[in-house]
Amino acid sequence: MREYILRRVVSMVPVLLIVSVISFGLLYVLPGDPAIAILGEELGTPETYQALREELGLNDPLWVQYGNWLGRVVRGDFGTSIRTQEPVATVLLRRAPISLYVGAAGLLVGVLIGLPAALISALRPGSRLDVSVSMLALGGIALPSFWQALLFVYLFAVLLRWLPPSGYTPPLTDPWLSFKMLLMPAVVLGTHSAAVIMRQGRSALLEVLGQDYIATARAKGLAERRVVALHALKNALIPIITILGLQIGGLVSGAAIVETVFAIPGVGRAAVDAIFFRDYPVLQGAVLMLTLAVLIANLLTDLAYGYVDPRIRYG
């Protein structure tokens, strides 16, 4: 197992390299580059390509540019923002805690609502409670976050005037205002996660509850609580861990929308803004930083599989 962890960590290096190639290729050279080859399509117009080359002064061979860029990135030099002339690393490090704060609040909302709801629902499939919870979850999944955000702003800021429509205040500066400003983004960010966790968690639990060994456990007269806690929950952990792992990427994407709608100066907002200002160094830095976060979450997910289910061998 220790060997597996080590190998898995080492295996993140090629992943990071692929990530770096994709982000480098996507934004610096358009047609006929490795990223497009990965996409399997030959798209993009020669005019924009030439314009971009001109704009960025790309005359070195590609691999030299990539090597130079990667060398700087590894040393923590993400270049300088085209828009503000600040070092990209400075910009991002200033914004990262804000995104973490909002993202953690969102995940907390998601897990605290999602997991208990899944369990309640799966234990009484077909009951009125299950039906209501499932309906709410279906609604939560279908609800587009930007629409939910607009509805919230309309209801709580425009109509009721309870909460500020947007903005961000550090929690230490003004805890109460900060909390009020965090409320809508956190709930909007957590709603989709809660719904997905509930729905897939329920379906994972039901899948497990339909297995032979559950029937056996019941047949041999075990109390229902024991069947659920020892036999069902343990076996449902793998899919539930997968679901949680997949939520991280979704939360980061959701953060981009939520940060944009609510004017929160986080990393996601920086990436979205950078696209419009063609501030490629900032976009690349933001993408790489967010990507590293998701990679670490993936690693933890994979390690958890083996811990939870000994049937999975890492050989």
Partner: protein, 312 residues
């Protein structure tokens, strides 16, 4: 990562037939009334989903006939009008009929949702099955690629791809399909890993079944339920991602009506004309809901273990 397979010559015909039995679990005794009400409800939701999906498809196909106005016709005498008899969903900042635009925009959402998920499922299932079953270097190569794509926050990667390829419906499909693939591949691999260690797969292997046969006949059929659930969620999320791209201004170009694009404009008029944001968001919501209902119905129909369970 060489997994320990049962090695040695497969003893043909030696395995007890009982080992290969993989049939569904004998259902418990469900409470008849509950089971009945659940079935009725499930049928009603599926029916509702089918009806809404049909309406969206009809809107997309017959938009020319159904829309009361030209979706791009501007009327400067009727700017930001609240819903009325002439304009049931109101008008936007340029005096265009919101209902007509919502109807036309269904085309974009449907096309992008279905084609993007088609791309994702065909890529993802193949990758996950090969990766999970073969192990070794194919697993390493496929999963590192999947890890790399998935490590990108989906919407950000879709944004970057669409921005790089140039904003258009086709490029949005490619971007969204590409971004949705890892979810399927990863789920498929997880399922394959777990199932291939089960007794009936070992038994099939002992009986001499070839790896393609084991993958196709013993592993894939046992994974369809979660894949369908996932694909359903993906159609939903593909439609939402397209709308997000358009909402953020990188998707479908104006003046072509798209639900996300309409919300983008609507968000700027929230205080004066909130109906501009109500209708397109509601359309996304209902369409996504409908796909989920249909998918859920499919899941119930496909998984015998879910159809007659004990209720508690």
């Amino acid at each position: 990562m060489g997994t320990k397979h049962l090695s040695g010559p497969p003893a043909r015909g030696a395995a007890a037939p009982a080992l290969t039995r993989t049939g569904p679990v004998t259902p418990g005794r469900p409470h008849r009334l509950l089971r009945f009400s659940r079935q009725v409800l499930a049928t009603r939701l599926v029916g509702m989903g089918l009806v809404i999906t049909a309406i969206v498809i009809i809107c997309a196909v017959f938009a020319d006939v159904l829309a009361p106005y030209n979706p791009n016709a501007q009327d400067y005498l009727a700017l930001t009008q609240p819903p009325s008899r002439a304009h049931p969903l109101g008008t936007d900042d340029l005096g265009r009929d919101v209902l007509s635009r919502v109807i036309y925009a269904s085309r974009v959402s449907l096309q992008v949702g279905l084609i993007a998920v088609g791309i994702a499922v065909s890529l993802g299932v193949t990758m996950g099955l090969l990766s999970g079953y073969l192990g070794g270097w194919p697993d390493t190569v496929i999963m590192r690629f999947v890890d790399a794509v998935q490590a990108f926050p989906g919407l950000i990667l879709a944004l970057a791809i669409t921005a790089a390829l140039g904003p258009s419906i086709g490029n949005a499909m490619i971007a969204i399909g590409f971004v949705s693939t890892p979810a399927i591949a990863r789920l498929m691999r997880g399922q394959t890993l777990s199932i291939r260690e089960r007794e009936y797969v070992e038994a099939a292997r002992v009986l001499g079944a070839s790896p393609p046969a084991i993958m196709a006949r013993h592993i894939w059929p046992n994974t369809t339920a979660p894949i369908i659930v996932q694909a359903t969620l993906l159609v939903a999320s593909a439609i939402v991602t397209e709308a997000s791209l358009s909402f953020l201004g990188v998707g479908v170009r104006p003046p072509t009506p798209s639900w996300g694009g309409m919300l983008r404009t609507g968000s700027q008029y929230l205080e004066v004309a909130p109906w501009m944001a109500f209708a397109p968001g509601g359309a996304i919501f209902l369409t996504v809901l409908a796909f989920n209902f249909v998918g859920d119905g499919l899941r119930r129909a496909l998984d015998p273990r879910l159809s007659g369970r004990r209720s508690g």
